[in-house]
């Protein structure tokens, strides 16, 4: 019943202790990969790809740069534009963050290592990921700035447009696995023999494109396009609230990478090891983290290399290319599922 604690400590704590422990572990599970991604990819890989070193002064190889940035943002003034809608403006980053934190809940790290084992795991993830749109619209509208409003509306249009290919790309995996449960999907990949990235390569491609768009990373970063809208819906934010948006963005990148790893790269499993072995509860999260880093590497590689689309081109790509392709993928997958 209380798998997280009971499996590690062999005790059966009361419900509230387990919940508190889950919240604490959830915080760590979101913030630690986020920091790792920012350091690894945004600070270091991006720098190396641009022939420079990145942060080097804070700590060995700049490892403490993130803490320094954190401290810097904390001590900045929390500026409210004078005609902003204060409540909406203040609440927006939290809405985005809540969406991110709820995403991580359904991720399984091992046969018994999970927060909740929802029957409708991946469906839940898709649903709560769409909540962040509200936060972004709130930020865009509440700032009472034209750049913010344009950015917010762009973001919302983009997120709606890419929600659909994202969900549809997952459908192929769900058809193959025959379940919406995340653990079930992992188990199905173990049963199938190869990870779903091989049979679902089209789905993986659509998933990666859609995730890139969901995260508003280049080439889909029009909502925060610096050369057009200054920084879009983030224009008026400063200090703590900007930091929350920042964490939200990279935490979502981490979580989506982990979801991608679970759906397409076999989650916590490693080849030739029984997926239900006791040991997987302990090394499973690490395996998942490694796979997550691989997918995040792809995401950030695209981010660093590509220029951005225009808004209408993005919509055209989503509606005229990705959605038909994903429908085709679903049909083909379904036919194979029925025939074989």
């Amino acid at each position: 019943m209380n798998p997280l604690i009971s499996s590690f400590l062999a005790i059966n704590p009361p419900y509230w202790v387990d919940t508190l422990a889950k919240i604490g572990i959830g915080l760590v599970a979101v913030l630690l990969p986020t920091g790792a991604l920012v350091y690894l990819f945004l600070f270091k890989m991006m720098s190396f790809m641009q022939s420079r070193l990145g942060p080097m002064e804070t700590g060995p190889y700049g490892q403490l740069q993130l803490l320094a940035e954190f401290g810097k943002f904390l001590q900045k003034e929390d500026i409210f534009p004078s005609k902003a809608d204060r409540f909406v403006f203040a609440a927006a980053p939290f809405v985005v963050l809540v969406s991110t934190f709820m995403l991580v809940l359904v991720l399984p790290g091992g046969p018994d290592t999970h927060f909740v084992d929802l029957n409708t795991g991946i469906y839940f993830a898709m649903a709560v990921s769409s909540v962040s749109v509200i936060g972004i619209l709130m930020a865009g509208w509440g700032s009472n700035s034209k750049y913010s409003l344009l950015g917010g509306i762009r973001a919302a249009g983009q997120l709606i447009a890419y929600e659909l290919p994202l969900v549809l790309s997952v459908v192929g995996v769900v058809i193959m696995a025959g379940t919406l449960n995340m653990k079930g999907i992992v188990a199905a990949q173990a049963d199938f023999g190869v990870w779903f990235i091989i049979p679902q390569i089209i789905g993986f491609f659509i998933f990666m494109v859609a995730v890139q768009a969901e995260l508003t990373q280049p080439p889909f970063d029009m909502p925060v396009a610096e050369s057009e809208l200054v920084t879009g819906y983030l224009t008026e934010y400063s200090g703590m609230r900007f930091l929350l948006f920042f964490i939200g963005e990279f935490a979502t990148a981490a979580v989506f990478s982990a979801i991608g790893a679970t759906l397409f790269l076999g989650g916590w499993t490693v080849p030739f090891v029984d997926i239900n072995a006791e040991i997987m509860d302990y090394i499973g999260p690490l395996v998942l983290a490694a796979k997550m880093v691989f997918i995040a590497f792809l995401i950030f590689w695209f981010r660093i290399t590509y220029p951005r689309f225009r808004e209408d081109q993005l919509q055209r790509l989503a509606w005229k290319f990705l959605i038909p392709l994903s429908l085709f993928n679903i049909v083909v997958t379904a036919i194979f599922k029925v025939v074989f």
């Binding site: 005609k83 909740v116 929802l118 029957n119 409708t120 709560v128 769409s130 709130m138 509306i153 919302a156």
Partner: protein, 181 residues
Amino acid sequence: MITAVASMVSAPVLGAVVAQNVFFYLIAAVMVIAALRVVTTSNIVHAALYLVVVLAGVAAQFLLLGAEFVGITQVLVYIGAVIVLFLFGIMLTRAKVGNEDGLDHDNVIPAILTAVLLVLVMGYAVVDFAGDEEIDVLGNSPTTVEQVSDSIFSTYIVAFEAISVLLLAALIGAIVVARKE
């Protein structure tokens, strides 16, 4: 929060019923207050955001009743799509920050009277009809997606097809109406 509730639903732990009642009243209170703000606030965007609270509360109530799939669909469709559509509509027509006049009719007394009378009549009827009927939530096994989908694609297949056609018609209709000649 919702997942905590959800895990309780599947948990035959002593005291879960008490916790469920506590959560019900908490969520219900928030929902009623938010719903009142939806119909009384003088800021359209605030109304839409309060509506988000109500809809999230509805989703939570669904989870409390063990309807996991419907609850998540509620989040996906309502919060992810319908509210965003609302906000889009508001921002496309007017995006003023701050309160606006003229959102209400000049004379709201009849409306208040209607609503209060209605709630009194319905409340009486409801209490009279189901005063002490208990829902055995813990006795019901939570429904799975398989059950729902089996039901949709066998018993309710005609209704499902009709809904599909309706959605398609609505899609085309919305485009035709909103498009400029």
